[in-house]
């Protein structure tokens, strides 16, 4: 679901086909029939933006028929845990959970806690959690709560999670799924039966998703719904199970682990918040949550080792290891907030590093207007992408909103080195680091980012060398002494990897596991979850033992974090007594004779802690993990069906309509995610949805995605001969019914309109997009690829120009997989007439009414 794997991850899809050839059933659920659907056993079309209603229906089917893997659910999930008496479910509050504050549009989560732990919810500040996307910390797994909550192993207590879950989804019936999603009841029941059958000791099911799930105003809850279902069926931590996030860029996993993200430091440590993390101790306690169980208890060691990696000898126990020098968050500093700040003239300089937001980010117009209002912009790329040339040939130059002679932004374009002209590691989608050898030297001015940032740092430090300003100590004391080599003075990527891995301060010996890290300043480690990638002084990510010379787990190819473990939480592949659930699904188990965990993978458990281990009364941290708690990063060691912390928009996934929808929410009075992040501005208007008036101005649902032959914003594909030839033009897919209704001609032109813009494309009339019957009427959906822009060998309008900025509140990712729109035959108007045309739609829809701000480009006062 939410993934077109055959199209977007084709080489990975060979494994799905391999499984199919061995008898696996492949089910594809997607608004559009795709290359993946063509190879699936079952294809189910559904309305974009209704996946939680669908998944909730499957959960309801499993619970009503008691098809959950009971032994797994009771022992390994929090199904038995008793919730606070104060908790009130969305069923009883018409779509809201207890604790909602209408004014701030945010929750007080104290009532969502486990019974007896209500106080722990009170310390959570949901406003700043949403502003700082703090739930992202949990990507390295594990939310905090207290160890040893009260449980009812019979699952009969009406306040236990199992019963709460059952009531929450009771109305997600096949009839409701048909009404909301447009999926016929028979088809839906067939999916339920197939999914529920892939469960138990002998069987598993694997769930695959991509940004078709992530990019929604309820995106995190989509994934939670998938996880709830997989936990109920016992499909987590087992071979052939799991919830697989297919990520879309060569090292997007790595850029989350070692984050170029505003709210995180390496290894998912939070960037400190000005009021909540004033001191090192407050910061560490906020991560480790004293009293909870699991490995986050050692957060102090991870944090201090990072500060030592940054500031070396200057970081001492006396100065809290320079903790004061870290910049502080005060709220939302995400990319969308920042772009709107650019429009408002608050940002001076902007670096773009292999990224093309003029095409790839939501609301292209806002992106380009923001860049047109900077003092300076540095673009580092292989090609002259649209984000480098917006001032010259961007769509706003045509409409007159950007006048080159009046646009002050100074632009530096620096050519980058390609993946074969530098060495280093990518982290692929399953946490596997693979080292790339350099094949050739970069030509002329082409340089790696490693070169650029190292030498930029050297120059900045030179300029500040004689400074007496306190703020400059953080720059001058930074450890920045990487060895360089060759004619270009390229810094050593291996030396950087060694620092990321970590070493002992005393003798420089590389560390081999994060369990060796210390909080007393005696160890350095740039990213604790990567500790071990340079174990024994050997670059483990460079290992290339052929698949023909090792087993199918292939543990000697590259290196996976953490600890070269290929399946996380694999303790769950054994039963509570430590025996494999079955011979067929044998993976990691307890060897009683040797007194250790063993198996095909690195066990995700303390090697010698037996299944029978019972933690002592009052224990916390690692000691408190019992012998049958597989989820060792969770505060209670359990997989969470119910999430009492970590989410700002509710403890259970609940169907809300997308921010833009032609339909009223059939399940609750609450229409859309009540906690979604909105930027209500004249330059970021939202199409109206029921019960608002005029939603009929935009009656059609729009969704976008990728093609195999192109890559994201097109900078690495529209510039290539072969790929431009294989997919030579921007197009849209529409059903024959919609084509007839709107007079669209196959291979002719049409355009799509939203409150943001109008985008034209060639029309492909196809049965791949079937109209659905939703809530008693016919719904049309249109689809567009989003790869095009004005540059490269094949040019076209950018689909992202149509999308507005509304974000998921947990991670601040935009809702770009569903919007409402109108579709019209023929090409869109050009020049200033385009602005007037879209303005006409806005007026009819009763939104905005003011045109986007025109960049006047007055120099800022400081200049």
């Amino acid at each position: 679901m939410g993934s077109n794997m055959a199209e977007a991850h084709p080489v990975g899809f060979q494994w799905v086909m391999e499984a199919k050839s061995r008898g696996a059933k492949v089910v594809h659920i997607d608004p559009r029939f795709t290359r993946t659907s063509a190879l699936a056993d079952t294809y189910v079309p559904l309305r974009a933006g209704t996946d939680i209603a669908f998944l909730g229906g499957v959960i309801n089917y499993v619970l009503q028929n008691e098809l959950d893997f009971r032994e797994y659910v009771t022992a390994y999930t929090n199904a038995a845990t008793i919730l606070s008496d104060d908790y009130v479910d969305a069923e009883d509050l018409d779509g809201l959970f207890s604790g909602f504050d209408e004014e701030g549009r945010q929750y007080d989560p104290s009532s969502w806690q486990y019974a007896g732990h209500e106080e722990s919810g009170r310390s959570q500040d949901m406003h700043s959690q949403r502003e700082t996307a703090s739930p992202m910390q949990h990507e390295s797994h594990g939310g905090s709560t207290y160890a040893h909550p009260r449980r009812d192993l019979t699952l009969q207590d009406p306040r236990c999670v199992y019963q709460v879950l059952k009531r929450h989804y009771a109305r997600y019936t096949p009839e409701m799924v048909e009404r909301v999603c447009g999926v016929p009841q028979d088809t839906f029941r067939q999916v339920c039966e197939t999914w529920a059958a892939a469960s138990g000791r002998e069987r598993t099911a694997m769930l695959v998703y991509s940004v078709g799930w992530t990019q929604h105003s309820v995106g995190v809850q989509y994934i939670r719904a998938g996880a709830v279902l997989q936990l109920l069926l016992g499909n987590v931590g087992r071979p052939g199970g799991g919830v697989m996030a297919l990520r879309g860029h060569a090292s997007i996993q790595g850029s989350t682990d070692i984050p170029t993200l505003f709210n995180l430091l390496p290894g998912y440590l939070p960037m400190p918040h000005h009021s909540q993390h004033e001191t090192l101790q407050q910061w560490v306690d906020a991560i480790r949550h004293p009293g909870q169980e699991g490995f986050w208890a050692d957060a102090g060691a991870y944090g201090v080792s990072l500060l030592k990696a940054y500031w070396g000898d200057a970081a001492t126990a006396e100065n809290d290891y320079c903790f004061d020098r870290l910049p502080r968050l005060t709220g939302d500093h995400g990319t969308y907030r920042t772009v709107l700040d650019m429009i408002d003239g608050k940002v001076k300089g902007y670096f773009l590093l292999g990224q093309n937001p003029a095409v790839g980010s939501a609301h292209g117009t806002a992106q380009r207007l923001g860049m047109a209002n900077l003092d300076w912009l540095v673009v580092r790329d292989l090609f002259l992408i649209e984000s480098a040339t917006f001032w010259k040939d961007g769509p706003e130059v045509a409409t007159g909103e950007i006048v080159p002679e009046e646009c002050r932004t100074e632009v530096f374009f620096l050519p980058a080195a390609s993946h074969v002209e530098k060495e280093g590691t990518f982290t692929q989608t399953q946490r596997l680091l693979q080292w790339r050898e350099k094949a050739v030297e970069p030509e002329a001015d082409c340089r790696s980012e490693l070169w650029f940032f190292y030498h930029l740092g050297v120059r900045i430090r030179d300029r500040l060398a004689s400074s007496t300003e306190a703020r400059d100590r953080a720059v001058l004391d930074l450890t920045w002494d990487y060895p360089t080599h060759g004619e270009l003075d390229e810094p050593s990527a291996e030396a950087v990897l060694r620092e990321i891995n970590g070493y002992r301060v005393a003798d420089g010996k590389p560390l081999s596991s994060y369990t060796e890290l210390a909080g007393d300043g005696s160890t350095v480690c740039g990213c604790w979850i990567y500790c071990g990638v340079y174990a024994d002084g050997v670059n483990q990510a460079a290992r290339r033992k052929s698949r023909h010379e090792q087993d199918e787990v292939a543990g000697e190819w590259g290196w996976a974090w953490p600890a070269n473990r290929r399946i996380l939480y694999n303790r769950a592949s054994a039963d509570p007594e430590g025996r494999p659930w079955s011979e067929r699904k044998k993976y990691v188990w307890w060897d009683a004779e040797k007194g250790e965990w063993t198996g095909a993978d690195v066990p995700d458990f303390e090697r010698t802690k037996p299944p029978s281990y019972v933690p002592p009364e009052g224990s916390s941290g690692v000691e408190a993990i019992s012998g049958e708690d597989p989820f060792i990063m969770q505060g209670d060691g359990k997989g969470w069906l119910f999430a009492s912390v970590g989410l700002v928009d509710g403890p259970l996934p609940t169907h809300y309509e997308p921010a833009e929808s032609p339909f009223r929410n059939a399940l609750y009075g609450q229409q859309a995610n009540p906690a979604r992040k909105v930027y209500d501005r004249a330059d970021n208007v939202t199409n109206p949805s029921p019960p608002e008036e005029h939603s009929d101005v935009f009656p059609i649902v729009l969704t976008t995605s990728r093609l195999t032959e192109h890559h994201t914003a097109g900078g690495m594909s529209r510039t290539l001969d072969y790929l431009a030839e294989l997919q030579p033009a921007m197009f849209m897919e529409v059903s024959p019914e919609l084509a007839a209704e709107r007079g669209l001609e196959h291979l002719g032109w049409a355009h799509v309109v939203t409150a943001r813009s109008a985008v034209e494309a060639r029309v492909l009339v196809t049965d791949r997009l079937a109209p659905l019957r939703v809530d008693g009427r016919v719904l049309h959906q249109v689809w567009m690829p989003y790869h095009w822009g004005q540059g490269g060998l094949t040019t076209g309008d950018s689909a992202n120009d149509l999308i507005g900025i509304t974000l998921d509140p947990n991670v601040l990712i935009q809702e770009s997989k569903v919007a409402t729109c109108d579709v019209r035959p023929g090409r869109r108007p050009t020049g200033p007439e385009l602005v007037a045309y879209v303005e006409g739609y806005r007026r009819r829809a009763g939104v905005g009414g003011r045109p986007l701000p025109v960049v006047t480009a007055t120099p800022s006062e400081e200049d």
Binding site: R247, G248, S251, D375, V378, C407, L414, A439, S546
Partner: protein
């Protein structure tokens, strides 16, 4: 040239009499094609690499000669990809050798309508000057309650999902020391 050699030099004869009745292999070979070697055989060396497009992480073998990339193929040893590449991965030699690739620094002055060339060293100096100045102009030392902020909201960055871990590490380290917070990448998008 004897008659026998002449007849055997005729592909259709070899096709009809030899072990290649469909004429798709040895029978169709000319002396020229017989002498041809794949680019991979003539390479000076081969680098073990990884495809730069999606996150599957397919293994690549990058063949090079005289400092130029001559061929990129799937790595059959890889347990992830088993030697396969998709259309993008297969086209990645085109990515690195494309004539559209920019090799030189370009500079657009404020209010200019065209690019101009700029020396790399000079560009690095100018960027360093601008970072130092923007940071000084927008520095926030403390919040209204006197608590440390140590930051600038005047410098932002976007990108990283196509870069190496080592590169992201240096980017984050330098920007964090500079107090620049609005450092983001595709993972937010």
């Amino acid at each position: 040239m004897g008659v026998r050699t002449w007849i055997e030099g005729w592909p259709v004869y070899r096709q009809l009499t030899g072990e290649d009745p469909l004429g798709r292999g040895a029978a169709a070979q000319s002396p020229v094609s017989h002498e041809l070697l794949p680019r991979t055989a003539e390479a000076d060396g081969v680098a073990r690499s990884v495809c730069p497009y999606c996150a599957v992480g397919c293994g690549q073998r990058v063949f090079h000669k005289d400092g130029k990339v001559t061929q990129i193929e799937g790595d059959p040893d890889s347990p992830i990809s088993r030697g396969r590449l998709c259309p993008k991965g297969s086209a990645s030699k085109n990515l690195v050798t494309s004539p559209l690739r920019q090799k030189h620094v370009l500079y657009r002055r404020p209010y200019a309508t065209e690019w101009e060339r700029l020396d790399l060293d000079q560009a690095m100096d100018m960027i360093a000057d601008r970072v130092v100045a923007a940071r000084a102009q927008t520095w926030e030392d403390r919040d209204s309650g006197g608590r440390p902020l140590n930051r600038t909201l005047g410098i932002a960055s976007l990108g990283g999902a196509t870069l190496d871990n080592e590169e992201n590490y240096l980017i984050k380290k330098l920007f964090t020391a500079l107090g620049a917070l609005q450092i983001e990448n595709q993972a937010r998008i």
